[in-house]
């Protein structure tokens, strides 16, 4: 190929400029990729001109050889699913259909939100009382709300009724059975464990609906992880905004002498909190590209801070004395911290550009994982000693199981991170490890919900 700089051909430049604008509208093709394609186009045009074609002819042939743009961009989308996540449209038919459908979607979401809010109040109408039957509500809250979220995704992904039922109904039925058929002791540990683990299990079942039944696909699983992270952000924002609004309203009414706080506590709070589950999900789906800018910022802020906290913790535990005698609550608290670390790691992975070379942040992240590992091992030792000394209790066993699960995940994550930093492994290995691990959480949550209560005599 000759690399003689050609005299710029104004007509050709204009055509290429136009073509570039057209390609850029396919947002799955990033600016760098457009540069790459443009370079290709220019090389092809140069070769064709050398073979005797005029500028116009050469441009036409070169563009044609690049392929139908929609097909090419679909191929790009398949490869770069993280870009697809920025709500990118695959084909023109979808773009044209979207205004009508998105209008219909909002209606659908609001209807589902109202239905979920009704579902949370129906038990009260048939005689349950939130204050007296608090434990019942706590066990069933996920079962009352999450089917609507699953229904939303089944509708949105057009999974079909029969398939959705087959996919989701067994897990929800099993959850309902475990939450209601077991004779729990009032305030027993197994009941509390079910209250904590059932929503987690059901959330992962919602994931099945989210991926449209395509649960074998690792990119789709990653999308669900992203969704979960963004959903938490949106839900928190909605809750904060709602809280401020409620506070102002209550204060306003109190100022004019009307006491409405019981109405708020009985109706506005439960219905609002329930409806917000669906609205937050819809916001994530509809406005993905907005929050996308928040996720990397949040992880960059909280990764170093969490690392500092863990390191301070590691120094503080031995300094205060015996590791074995640490409070039982501390063990559970540490488990929560480790869950937070894992969440942060997942969130960071889902927000990261998989092709970017390792940078300082990846090192920081490895430090976070390593310090979490140290804390985990320390706690694991304390737990094992407690169990051999005082015997197994539901809480200790659940904490131990969770600890082992987190240990396995963090240990292998650390090893993959080191491989990535040394450029021995691609970043995608870490991504894939996390998506492969997802079913483990579901399985463990299912074990705690279904097996623990009978195994520990419903205590």
């Amino acid at each position: 190929m000759t690399a003689v700089p050609k005299t710029p051909d104004a007509g050709l430049e204009a055509q290429i400029g136009q073509w570039r604008g057209y390609v850029q509208r396919h947002r799955v093709i990033s600016p760098d990729d457009v540069d790459e394609l443009e370079g290709h186009l220019r090389d092809r045009v140069a070769d064709l001109e050398e073979a005797g074609l005029t500028g116009d002819e050469a441009f036409a042939v070169a563009v044609k050889r690049l392929g139908v743009l929609d097909e090419v961009s679909r191929e790009f989308a398949r490869e770069h699913s993280e870009r697809l996540w920025k709500q990118l449209v695959l084909s023109p038919e979808l773009t044209q259909a979207s205004p009508a459908r998105s209008g219909r979607e909002l209606g659908q979401v609001l209807a589902l939100a109202v239905a979920a809010a009704v579902a949370i109040k129906v038990p009260e109408l048939v005689g349950y009382d939130v204050t007296e039957d608090g434990p019942w509500y706590a066990r069933n809250v996920g079962l009352l709300v999450l089917p609507f979220l699953a229904g939303y995704f089944a509708w949105k992904r057009r999974t079909g009724w029969a398939r959705s039922l087959l996919l989701l109904a067994p897990s929800f039925a099993l959850g309902a059975l475990a939450a209601n058929a077991y004779p729990y002791t009032d305030g027993g540990a197994t009941e509390v464990l079910v209250v904590i683990h059932l929503p987690i299990l059901l959330w992962l079942v919602v994931g099945l609906a989210y991926v449209g039944g395509d649960w074998r696909s690792h990119p789709r699983r990653m999308d669900f992880i992203r969704f979960t992270g963004e959903w938490v952000v949106y839900y928190t924002l909605l809750a904060l905004g709602g809280g401020v609004l409620v506070g102002l309203t209550l204060a306003g009414f109190a100022a004019i002498g009307l006491e409405i706080s019981s109405f708020f506590a009985e109706w506005v709070l439960p219905c609002g909190a329930t409806g917000a589950v669906l609205v937050a999900a819809w916001l994530v789906e509809a406005k993905q590209s907005v929050v996308e800018n928040i996720a990397p910022v949040l992880t960059r802020v909280f990764t170093p801070l969490t690392t500092l906290m863990l390191l301070a913790f590691l120094v503080a535990i031995p300094a205060t004395g015996n590791v074995v005698d640490v409070d039982r609550d501390l063990l559970i608290l540490v488990d929560l911290i480790l869950v937070l670390v894992l969440g942060l790691l997942l969130y960071a992975i889902s927000a990261r550009h998989p092709q970017a070379p390792p940078d300082l942040f990846d090192r920081l992240q490895l430090l976070l994982v390593l310090s979490a590992l140290l804390v985990d091992v320390l706690m694991l030792g304390a737990m094992l000693i407690r169990i051999t000394e005082f015997g197994a209790s539901p809480n200790k066993t659940a904490a131990l199981g969770l600890n082992l699960i987190l240990l396995a995940n963090l240990a292998w994550s650390a090893s993959l991170s080191v491989g990535f930093l040394r450029r021995r492994r691609p970043f995608s290995a870490l991504e894939r490890w996390q998506t492969t691990y997802l079913p483990v959480y579901a399985a463990w949550a299912a074990v705690v919900v279904v097996v623990f209560p009978p195994a520990f005599g419903y205590a």
Partner: protein, 123 residues
């Protein structure tokens, strides 16, 4: 000649990796080389080359970096990684088995239809 798209898809990775094993290259040059190697019989849709290269990059089989060409334009160059070399040798063994079996079965079968047989030597 039109080659079935499944066959193109299956052979694309080893072909690209094989070309990159010879040395660093960029999308357009790789396509041209595929064209030359197959005596013009294999033509890919140009645009499809890039998602493939990006996939190989994500999986760690190739490494990419931007370089400035003599013409002053930026070009994305791809180079094979050790993992890519390993994959290539695996694929090579697999393809050897497949082509060996195909050659044997075709040695026993009837010769190719005349239309294709004539088209071959005419180049």
């Amino acid at each position: 000649m039109h080659i079935d798209k499944d066959l193109v898809a299956a052979s694309a990775t080893p072909l690209v990796l094989g070309i990159l094993a010879e040395g660093e290259s960029y999308g357009y040059a790789i396509l041209k080389q595929v064209n030359e190697l197959s005596a013009g019989e294999m033509t890919w849709t140009d645009g499809m080359m890039y998602p493939l290269l990006h996939r190989l990059e994500r999986l760690g089989y190739v490494r990419a970096c931007w370089r400035v060409a003599a013409s002053g334009r930026r070009r994305r160059h791809y180079a094979i990684t050790p993992a890519g070399v390993q994959l290539l040798s695996e694929r090579r063994r697999q393809w050897a088995v497949v082509t060996h079996a195909l050659n044997r079965v075709w040695a026993e079968a009837a010769p190719l239809a005349p239309a294709t047989a004539v088209a071959g030597p005419s180049r």
